[in-house]
């Protein structure tokens, strides 16, 4: 078993970790949200949907990082 682990270490010795982002898909991180438009209730304007959302709302299917 240990032998397998050593082979895997060898196989990955010169591999570069890929770039990317883990993301919980909330409106705050969606490029459609204008975070500068926050109103007194804490809502921001969504350009895609044309409505106001809380940044912490789960993103809709138009979500774009």
């Amino acid at each position: 078993m240990k032998n397998n682990v050593e082979k895997i270490i060898e196989a990955n010795r010169n591999v570069s970790f890929p770039e990317g982002t883990c993301c919980a898909n909330r409106c705050a991180d969606c490029r459609h949200i204008n975070m500068g438009s926050m109103d007194s209730a804490g809502k921001c304007h969504c350009r895609e949907m044309g409505r106001w959302v809380y940044p912490s709302d789960p993103a809709c299917h138009y979500f774009k990082w």
Partner: protein, 151 residues
């Protein structure tokens, strides 16, 4: 079933408790791929309440150092500090990237669900089949204790 060394679980609990932003940790093993015995915090390039972008240079450095110590990189865990208690689309894309980048029969992709001081862990097994299609499935885990030294 995935096995996690009790010290790894303690370290993860300590690391994630009371987090204000999403964070990530690399997972490693030394004897068998299904026994997580090592972990190391992976700094973020950027991180926020709902996202975490790993610093890939730091990851390369940790994995290189680990390989010299006989530790095999075999997974990544990151946190969700909202009520999002499963993998997001972006998480799945990243898990796919990882399993396609590294030569691993299985990659452990973990979620630390943080609610204040309380942290719940979920793990997923990421695998590639012979046609290159990626599968992600939840796995149960058990904690195994440190070996006691005999006198």
């Amino acid at each position: 079933m995935l096995q996690i060394h009790e010290q790894v679980k303690v370290d993860l609990l300590r690391f994630y408790s009371d987090s204000a932003v999403e964070k990530g940790v690399l997972l490693g093993c030394t004897t068998s791929l299904n026994r997580l015995e090592k972990c190391c915090a992976l700094p973020a390039l950027q991180a926020g309440l709902y996202f975490y972008t790993p610093n890939t240079h730091a990851a390369d450095e940790i994995i290189r150092t680990w390989s010299e110590q006989g530790i095999c990189f075999c997974g990544l865990i990151h946190s969700h500090i909202t009520e999002k208690d499963d993998l997001s689309d972006a998480d799945i894309v990243y898990a796919n990237k990882l399993i396609k980048t590294f030569t691993l029969p299985v990659l452990w992709f973990g979620l630390a669900l943080v609610h204040g001081k309380q942290v719940v862990f979920r793990f997923y097994a990421v695998t590639n089949n012979s046609s290159g299609k990626t599968h992600i499935s939840p796995v149960r885990y058990a904690v195994f204790p440190s070996e006691r030294r005999s006198k």
